[in-house]
């Protein structure tokens, strides 16, 4: 059947595009490589920051989720929607935001020095942790919230009726959820932080705060020591894959966190103390998650006059990349509408884009200068990175179409083409455009492989912002960041709009 053929083609494409670079990378690994003290430090720092980031995210997300689950207030829904924003927010924008609040001349340090306290440095471990929890608290909160809202409301009423105290209540009602969800979230965030690149590139660095990912990038880009880079990549890949596989074996495939969260909440009697505690948490976390963004947007808009005409080319490059990778990811994803897709989607977070990019670099460097085909390399990597998201989004919709209408299409005697054209595609449209919007937004904000390859002949908007930052032209960087956010969210909303038109 045509669908099967396509599925096989899609699988082969992915295998070639992912395993090709990985195999090449492994073959390049230096056989006689010895671990230097710098490498050991990088390994240690990688594990330390990943563990601390996930631990802090989980610890801070739990009270926030609990507070959100039991308090009704104006703006609650808005706040919950806002929790999904960091997901499509370009990393570099969030970093600028954090810098503007926690940076050397940021809001926090102005206050600290005003009151005569020592200043806080965002560079190094503290900055990396700050950025990682900024991105991952919302993720963890959504996961906890989803589990909390699925809990039968009768349990809460029962606990109210029995007038259980705080500790017993936690033990009986909340602990089972924490025990189920927290380890999954922890391992997911752990892997994400293991391979985090842009955050460590901008806020880390130096002998004390270098991760494996950053070390790979540095030996690739500056030392041109491919053997060392490949060896480190191999180590990083092993750790990430091991974490993923262990997590799947122990906890099963991760839950789907993309579900809507707008169930009415169960109102109940709570003591005044817990009222203050809950709103305290909501306000503090709400401020932590929003002030950096508001700050970067405000400062950026004030500095619009600094923008130069040369920014048009990177804008154009970024949009082109975003649209094409969205298209490729989404089309490829249609070949993975099966159990395989789920597994690949989960395992693929273990493979960092940088490693694939590095592998592709080594693969093609004997034939053509990789810097001449930057666009194609980045398009490939972004498409692969978007694939798991596209699969996750479209799979439930696809299953539903098949279970509702496949039988009818057989009764009609439809050919596979007719089925695809008249039924599958039109009915998948909503999920399809949502997936394209999401992948486009992710690709738009991506600051990964482009740093490895990008240079004078090909620049994207996030790369330009990074270069401006490195050159201490923060005001101009912030102005460009506003443009980036507007385009990212704009693309996402446009696709969302397309998906919602003319649907029965």
């Amino acid at each position: 059947m045509a669908q099967r053929t396509f599925s096989i083609v899609a699988n082969c494409t992915l295998l070639f595009a992912v395993f090709g670079p990985l195999v090449v990378l492994i073959f390049h690994a230096d056989q006689n490589f010895t671990f230097t003290s710098a490498d050991r430090a990088a390994l240690k720092f990688t594990l330390l920051q990943a563990a601390l980031s996930s631990l802090l995210s989980v610890l801070l997300a739990w009270p926030l989720a609990l507070a959100l689950s039991r308090r009704q207030f104006r703006g609650r829904r808005l706040l919950i929607v806002a929790l999904s924003v960091p997901f499509i927010l370009p990393v570099i924008v969030a970093i600028l935001g954090l810098l503007s609040v926690f940076g050397n001349s940021g809001l926090l340090n102005s206050l600290l020095s005003f009151f005569g306290f020592p200043v806080f440095s965002i560079y190094g471990l503290s900055g990396v942790l700050l950025a990682h929890i900024f991105f991952n608290i919302p993720l963890a909160t959504r996961a906890f919230l989803l589990a909390l809202e699925r809990r039968p409301k009768e349990l809460d009423r029962l606990a109210d009726g029995l007038n259980l105290n705080f500790l017993i209540r936690f033990w009986i009602l909340d602990w089972p959820i924490v025990r189920l969800i927290a380890p999954q979230i922890f391992s997911l965030i752990f892997v994400l932080c293991l391979t985090s690149f842009a955050v460590v590139l901008t806020l880390g660095g130096g002998p004390k705060a270098t991760t494996l990912e950053l070390a790979i990038y540095q030996s690739f880009r500056f030392e041109l020591d491919f053997g060392r880079a490949s060896f480190l990549a191999f180590i990083q890949l092993s750790i990430a894959a091991l974490t993923c596989v262990l997590s799947i074996i122990i906890f099963g495939l991760p839950l789907n966190f993309n579900q809507s969260l707008d169930r009415p909440i169960h109102k109940r009697y709570l003591r005044l103390g817990s009222l203050f505690w809950d709103f305290g948490i909501i306000i503090v976390m709400g401020l932590f998650l929003t002030i950096p963004l508001i700050s970067v947007l405000l400062k950026g808009v004030q500095n619009f006059y600094l923008l130069e005409i040369t920014i048009w080319t990177p804008i154009f490059n970024s949009i082109t990349l975003a649209l094409f990778s969205a298209l490729i990811s989404t089309i490829l994803a249609m070949g993975f509408m099966n159990k395989w897709g789920e597994v690949i989607g989960t395992l693929s977070i273990a493979v960092s884009p940088l490693i694939i990019g590095a592998g592709l670099f080594l693969m093609i460097k004997n034939f053509i200068s990789p810097f001449e085909v930057t666009f194609w390399v980045i398009l490939t990597v972004n498409s692969i990175m978007g694939l798991p998201f596209a699969i996750r989004i479209m799979r439930p919709a696809s299953d539903e179409i098949i279970s509702n209408f496949h039988r009818l299409s057989i009764a009609y005697g439809m050919t596979p083409f007719a089925w695809f054209y008249w039924v599958y595609l039109p009915r998948l449209k909503g999920a399809l455009t949502y997936s394209m919007g999401l992948v486009a937004a992710l690709s738009m904000g991506d600051l990964g492989v482009i740093v490895l390859f990008g240079g004078a002949n090909f620049e994207t908007l996030p790369l330009v912002i990074y270069q401006l930052m490195s050159a201490y032209r923060i005001d101009q960087a912030m102005a460009s960041a506003v443009i980036l956010v507007l385009i990212s969210i704009g693309i996402f909303l446009v696709f969302d709009r397309i998906g919602k038109t003319r649907n029965a």
């Binding site: 039988r407 009818l408 057989i410 009609y412 439809m414 649907n503 029965a504």
Partner: protein, 228 residues
Amino acid sequence: MLKLNFSFEENYLAISANLSLESDKIYAIIGPSGAGKSTFLNLISGFSEISSGSILWNEQEISDLPPSKRNISILFQDNNLFPHLSVWRNLALAVSHWPKISNDDEAKLHSVISEVGIRGLENRKPSQLSGGQQSRVALARVLLQKNKILLLDEPFAALGPSLKDQMLELIEKIARNRGLLVLMVTHDPADANKIASQTIVVKNNKVHTPLNTNKALDPINGPLADYL
């Protein structure tokens, strides 16, 4: 003549059948829930495969053919129409997969639209139709397929009593005009009494040979006495 002589086994269900059905009659199928009435229809139409035996239509083996080649149309309990397509497109797809259909096909569509009484609704989506209208469109679809056997898997179960009766009358009229063999699963003995002279009882893992409907539904001595 449809000759059924087969058995089917699955995890929780086994049924066997050995009966012959006449080409232009309406048969009701009645039996307890879970006895395998829907499965029976799925086996005839090819959505499930028989474990052994044969299905002969006019002396031709059809059990190894795909559903669309068996000369059989089926109306399901639900999802009989594509909700995102207009009534016209839902019907047009039964005759051609191309966006533009020929004049001949167009004439066929118009004639069936009159036959089932849905003129004027061609541009609507299924969600803009009443339940009765949706049933008529679904019926129009199977009529366009020009198959000689029509299977009804309780497609009118969600309709109110008077609408359901209207549909049954329509089915009876069409079946008579076109000489169709109709097999109708139902929960309601009244449906069987209304249009089916013969009734097939499905019970105890067996599809029984058709009985006169009056006899099959006899509440005291009939085979379904404990069910009714």
